[in-house]
């Protein structure tokens, strides 16, 4: 798994790639939660994620909950078919805000 965090228009964009599993999800979780603890609205880009397991999904759920608690915007961007399949299995595809692109989210902000 690789993870890159960058700032775009006041948002933290966390781009994850590769396989997010019990071995790699702690790092993804930490970075997502750190962005939110810094009071950044956060988008998680999942376009290049080939695999995600329940520990990865749990990290996204934690981010979603912390964002709600802090009243920060939080969403998933470019959700790959592999990730969408797992979100659907978890019945979470209707819970997270999902966006086709970062631009799609940012153009409607403000």
């Amino acid at each position: 798994m690789s993870v890159v965090v960058r700032m775009q228009d006041g948002y933290a964009v966390v781009s994850l790639a590769g396989e997010i599993d019990l071995h790699t999800s702690p790092e993804a979780r930490k970075l997502i939660l750190t962005c939110l603890q810094d009071n950044r609205p956060t988008l998680v880009d999942l376009g290049d994620v080939a695999y995600i397991d329940s520990s990865g999904v749990a990290s996204l759920v934690e981010g979603f909950q912390l964002a709600r608690q802090r009243q920060l915007d939080f969403g998933l961007v470019r959700v790959s078919p592999a990730v969408l399949n797992v979100l659907k299995l978890a019945r979470l595809d209707k819970v997270f805000p999902l966006y086709l692109s970062i631009e799609e989210r940012l153009k409607n902000v403000g």
Binding site: H23, S54, S55, A58, V61, E62, F64, A82, N85
Partner: protein, 142 residues
């Protein structure tokens, strides 16, 4: 078990999961499962191995032995460990409407597999979890 079965024994730790997944994917595709179903089988086995690592051995050192192969009309995966014996009654899936982290693994396994059962352990130590998927299941065949 015949030559169509493959077996892999690895330490019960997070960085073993990738190799277990690769074996299951390879076997599922070889046995004629559709790629999307192979993805689901990989997820189910990953979650079962995670359960062993997190709740079976509880972080202590141990071994997981995974075997996967053909049965009539489908595929069976067996996951053997030497952790504290458990039963299906110990499996507690969470209510899905309750959005919180954790507890999803058992739901994934139940949703994906056709049969999930603990087999009697050969020497009464540890666990042998058997999971079966049939090609006749919806969307399973290639």
């Amino acid at each position: 078990m015949n030559e169509t079965w493959k077996l892999l024994q690895l330490p019960a730790q997070a960085d073993s999961l990738q190799q277990f997944r690769a074996l299951v994917r390879e076997q599922a595709l070889a046995l004629g499962f559709a790629p999307a179903c192979a993805d689901d089988l990989v997820l189910a086995v990953n979650e079962a191995c995670m359960n062993v690592i997190q709740h079976g051995y509880r972080g202590a050192a141990g071994v997981i032995e995974l075997s996967a192969g053909a049965i009539a009309g489908g595929m069976e995966i067996r996951i053997r460990d030497e952790a504290t014996p458990v039963s299906m009654g110990d499996w507690r899936p969470r209510a899905l409407e309750d959005v919180r982290p954790g507890g999803l693994g058992v739901h994934f396994i139940r949703e994906i597999m056709d049969e999930v059962v603990y087999l009697p352990s050969p020497d009464n130590t540890g666990n042998v979890l058997s999971m079966k998927k049939y090609l006749r299941s919806k969307g399973a065949g290639a």
